[in-house]
């Protein structure tokens, strides 16, 4: 492993480096957007007809696939082939949707929709939407996309995040980072990010299918998420359904057909939108029921129907305020189309005691923040960007005796984070240990979400309690977990990147990718070769730069060893064997480990040097902490 290109804080982009094209994608339950930041201005990319948003709807017909508005046009003719709101099913179990009247599931164990094009998983639906966005952007930006920041609800759990990453992979998009939606919104609003004064920002994000609330503190170029809360299955869709159920009752339709259900849902959605501006709305229901030709709905009816959902969001807000331990909030930002509903705005204003900000379009602000962050992550840094410190939304733990959860990483821990805990065996001569990883706040395993289960084998037989098994949880900057179990005496180890129990297997993804490349006339081998070469070039360039700067950290023998490894990589680099390049890259990487560690220590010292100097002033300003 290597850490060669130590970034210099404040160092700008090398003027000779070509600006890379990165995008921000808001993969929404109802609508999806793609935005780009070119270093000067932010733009949400529009389709041919000038619409910035793409309906998150995919039509899987017998002979073709349509996305967005074109898919929606098929909704009434072929409801089962037209998939909407698939995001709320990403990374979830089939059992959760067996009784859902709005979806038609394909037979089998996996969660998949039955369509004319065969069974389609939510990941494939999301991939189709992402691919459509990419195809929209590339001609406009006149360049292939180097990478994307894709936003996810802050309250998405591990499986939902993994599923989102898989969808991007299927769509041929390199994910620079999964970014929490409220954090992205805060970035878009973060105009005075270098302000000396610290301020606390609350982001209330109510989308079509998910609700998030995050509290952030901004100070001197650091955006720190203090706490986040929410509900990944609560949103404007619930408003629509509550109103649709109300309409069905008014129409005395006890057993509506799926067509009637869809039409009613569409009417409910239209009515809700109309009631944002109007006090009442009259719906034409002549094709829904014989008894009535129209129904009038007052805003107050909608408000009483959705009040319980709004109360749930406020409850989450209060809990998050308590978690963040902040006394007051300086600004509240509204995000998500559902915050257009007047009673939502009013409730938020009352809850925080502040008039909420909505100067940026609540439908576009997330994509805009993501685009800005994508530009930074892809390497187009100006040097003065704010640093984002995000958190994990839910605690992570392990099952212990009696079905209880031992918490390893607490919710709202800043990521990336790693924690290890030691466990031991319960029985004499026990040689294996089941590691069951769960996510959630409850004490009992059955009340938490099961993420993965694996077995550590090869523990030498010992008396109960003598083995020392260290289990390490590591959460990366995307909020994705990796777990390792290691028996300390023998070094027996077992590690898993926690795969979503309900997502796709690696082999399925490979198959789909292969099929996709064949379809697009691309050669998978050529792509692999290209990727391996880019990686190798990056490593070699980094090594040269590092040697020029910190070569004094190496002895002559160490330097020779590094040079040999580098020469070995250079020898295979221009060949056509991706595996050979990858192996040589890895071996050079391993050879640079010590060098990298020394460079890291040197730069830790350099980073802390600055603090020691500013020490005196800050002591006077801030007192002694607590």
């Amino acid at each position: 492993m290597v850490l060669l290109q130590i970034a210099e804080p404040g160092a700008g982009l090398d003027p000779d480096t070509k600006r890379k094209v990165a995008v921000g994608i808001d993969l929404g339950t109802t609508n999806s957007l793609i935005a780009h930041f070119d270093g000067a201005s932010l733009q949400v990319l529009q389709d041919g007809s000038g619409s910035p948003s793409l309906s998150s709807v995919v039509y899987f017909g017998a002979s073709d696939v349509r996305i967005g508005q074109a898919a929606m046009a098929q909704a009434s003719a072929e409801p089962a082939n037209t998939i909407a709101s698939a995001k709320r099913m990403l990374g979830r179990a089939r059992g959760e949707f067996e009784d859902d009247p709005y979806v038609t599931l394909a037979p089998g164990d996996t969660l998949a929709f039955a369509t004319a094009a065969g069974a389609k998983t939510p990941v494939e639906v999301a991939a189709a939407i992402l691919a459509a966005l990419r195809e929209r952007a590339e001609p406009q930006l006149d360049a292939p996309i180097s990478g994307a920041v894709i936003t996810v609800p802050a309250y998405f759990d591990d499986a939902q995040r993994q599923a989102t990453r898989q969808a991007a992979e299927l769509a041929g998009i390199k994910v620079l980072r999964l970014l929490n939606e409220p954090t992205a919104a805060a970035v878009a609003y973060g105009l005075d990010e270098q302000a000396e004064e610290s301020s606390v920002l609350a982001v209330y994000d109510l989308g079509g299918g998910t609700f998030d609330v995050s509290l952030l503190r901004m100070r001197k170029g650091i955006f720190e998420v203090l706490a986040t809360g929410g509900d990944s299955a609560l949103g404007g869709d619930d408003f629509d359904r509550a109103l649709a159920d109300h309409l069905l009752a008014e129409l005395a339709l006890a057993n509506p057909s799926s067509t009637q259900r869809r039409k009613t849902l569409q009417s409910a959605r239209d009515a809700k939108e109309a009631l944002t501006e109007q006090e009442s709305v009259t719906l034409d229901v002549s094709d829904l029921a014989e008894a009535l030709s129209e129904i009038t709905i007052d805003r107050s009816v909608l408000e009483s129907l959705i009040a319980p959902f709004i109360e749930r969001t406020l409850h989450a807000c209060r809990e998050t305020l308590a978690d963040a331990e902040v006394a007051a909030v300086d600004r509240v930002v509204l995000v998500g189309g559902s915050t257009r509903t007047p009673s939502v705005r009013q409730a938020v204003a009352e809850c925080f005691g502040l008039e909420p900000l909505c100067s940026l379009d609540p439908d576009q602000v997330v994509a805009m923040g993501a685009a800005r962050q994508a530009d930074i992550l892809v390497g187009n840094r100006a040097g003065d960007e704010a640093l984002l410190l995000d958190v994990i939304p839910l605690s992570l733990g392990l099952e212990t005796y009696g079905g209880l959860v031992e918490r390893i990483i607490d919710r709202n821990s800043t990521i990336p984070v790693a924690r290890a805990q030691e466990f031991t065996t319960a029985r004499d001569g026990q040689t294996g240990l089941i590691v069951h990883v769960v996510q959630g706040e409850r004490e009992r395993v059955e009340d938490c979400r099961s993420l993965a289960q694996f077995e550590l084998k090869g523990i030498p037989p010992m008396v109960a309690g003598a083995a020392r098994i260290e289990v390490t949880f590591r959460v990366d900057a995307d909020g994705i977990l990796e777990v390792t179990a290691l028996e300390q005496e023998t070094g027996a180890r077992s590690d898993v990147v926690v795969k979503p129990a309900f997502g796709l297997r690696e082999s399925q993804i490979t198959e789909m990718l292969k099929a996709g490349y064949e379809h697009a006339g691309e050669d998978m081998q050529a792509r692999k070769l290209g990727e391996a070469q880019v990686e190798a070039e990056g490593l070699l360039a980094g090594l040269r730069a590092a040697l020029a700067k910190d070569g004094d950290l190496l002895s002559d023998a160490e330097l020779r060893d590094l040079e040999q490894n580098a020469a070995a990589l250079e020898a295979v680099m221009d060949g056509n064997q991706p595996e050979a390049i990858r192996d040589a890259t890895e071996s050079l990487g391993r050879a640079t480990e010590t060098f990298a560690a020394r460079r890291m220590d040197r730069s830790i010292q350099a980073a802390l040097q600055g603090v020691a100097i500013t020490d005196l002033e800050s002591d006077q300003e801030q007192g002694d902490g607590r």
Binding site: L3, G147, S413, T414, A418, I604
Partner: protein, 174 residues
Amino acid sequence: MNATPGAPARDYFALFQLQPELTLDEATLEQSYHALLAQFHPDLYAGQSQMEQRMAAQLCADINSAYQTLSHEVTRAEYLLSRAGVDLEAAERQGVGGEFLMKQIMLRERLEETPADDAAAREALHAEITTLYQSSRDGCAQSIAASDWSAAARCWQEMCFLSKLQEAARPEAR
């Protein structure tokens, strides 16, 4: 507590270049934390090789865990004890003295008897608990400085009890 399984753990105090003591300036700790993140946050390495990304993420995970542990007195004390090789579970089994236990039970009873809306009474109780906590903390700091680990472990447990009580007695902020 280390981020790399099987590798020796990075010492949290050494990481921040601090003396291993319970008393430290939390404002400076926070500044150091931000200075380290400004150098090693994975966002700064996103465009670079996978190995560099992984290494930055590991160091940053250590920095985050270290900050989280050191920024609170109770967990800082616990870390000081565990890095000195004190068996915390054994210390917990041994428990605090009977006298402290009684005092703690009485405080809890008084808290339960104080109505939530009697702000003045809660404020007074909270202040009393805070004073007790501070004295246990000072005792812990001194014992650690003198390497008197059994006394330090006892004080640490008192800190655990009292900080929970302090939290429960906190007057409603809003």
